[in-house]
Symmetry: C2
Subunit: 241 residues, 2 copies
Amino acid sequence: MQNTSSGLAPLVRQLLNRSKLTEEDQAAILAMPHQVKQIPALNYIAREGDRPTHSCALISGFAVRHKTVGAGGRQIVNIHMAGDMVDLQNSLLACADHSVQALTKVEVALIPRQAIEEIAFERPAVGKALWVDTLAEGSIAREWVANVGRRDAKTRVAHLLCEFAMRLEAAGLGQQCNYELPMTQEQIADTVGLTSVHVNRTLRALDTEGYTKRSKRSVVINDWKRLAEVGDFNPLYLHFA
Amino acid sequence: MQNTSSGLAPLVRQLLNRSKLTEEDQAAILAMPHQVKQIPALNYIAREGDRPTHSCALISGFAVRHKTVGAGGRQIVNIHMAGDMVDLQNSLLACADHSVQALTKVEVALIPRQAIEEIAFERPAVGKALWVDTLAEGSIAREWVANVGRRDAKTRVAHLLCEFAMRLEAAGLGQQCNYELPMTQEQIADTVGLTSVHVNRTLRALDTEGYTKRSKRSVVINDWKRLAEVGDFNPLYLHFA
DNA sequence: CGTGTTTTTGACTTCAGTCAATTAAAGTGG
DNA sequence: CCACTTTAATTGACTGAAGTCAAAAACACG
């Protein structure tokens, strides 16, 4: 398998956003055994209750992790893009406590659990990079707790737009101030803990007040600083080196 | 340092809730260099923006991690009890994105960052246990996103009471259906994303409707199953083995 | 005891949800 | 390429859960 053609190249790219890795370490990651799989939009990559045997890295497309609550609602608890490990969570822990769903058509690399554990402990730098990614993911989840717990609708939505912008750019998938948001307003609602109707009104307000310019799914951020301000957005929690 | 008297005994106990560790591995954890420190209630163990040089395991008492949002509110994003690693997060990542505050008088063990990294890679079982704990913590954060994002007040509060009950019992610090909740109603409010007034009304309602019996800070759960039901509580996400 | 939290309660407000209908966009098959 | 469906976005009128403000009661503690 040639390095640059490995399906795991996006994973390496993302890990480098938070950790240093030698050429050798990078090559070792690229050389991990894996199987590429296509998944159509809205299909499930994993389901709550699964006991997965493989870890899964996103090669292209977008996916979310979500939970279903008793009252029938759903809450999106993570958004994933190319290069993200989608379920280290599901791999080291015995049982999935949430589902992973493709938002768009998606390509994933399935990596045997064993291979992840081996590389993590044979190559400490790689192990540490994966661990750091796990921590960063936890950090993002905590920021989301604060976002849905203590911010009003406008701030919440603006915050999401900012986070997505920065992560996209870090993943090399778009520009921070001009990108495609691959989500319906209903999916945004399930992410920020609002209803789709209110998300609609809020997005509209952000447009009207000149923070953004949207058409279809495309988002143009007119003034990053101003949007970051209404969104109470401080990128520290993303832990990009 | 004798094993049973090591300040790190609670840490080992907690790790065993999610991972298997040989006697040898356990001894190695207990033997990590560390310094015990007392911290009075409400003091800070770490502050947002710190660049910590030590990791910190809780030996006794309770602590929270919280974030401050622009509008002046605060959101508690984690609750910690004896045996929890309070800031692996802060230790492997460069910069703390939240503060850690003692809820009660607290004893912590400060462990040099280096020592954590060494043991993690010299003893894969220990490294994996720490990693699993990191993942479990992320899992709890995700459940909190769902709790705050998609559940109503009564459900949220009941869920918190259930989570606390289970974690206390797992940590060997109390009984699942009869424990002391070391938080004011205002702190509960900052945890579940409500106001203290509404938390008061909600706790009262749970009492009136017979789910719980409270006096001061003590909580008695009359019927676990019923409370878990209104709280939409499924302990899977805690990932106790 | 007195002072300062914490808990409780009541009256009123508001932000976001609900319900329902309309418009716009994106597919689909002939 | 056009009628036909389906999904997504938008808008308006009304509701309701939780927030705000303010004051009283109950504790906790030096």
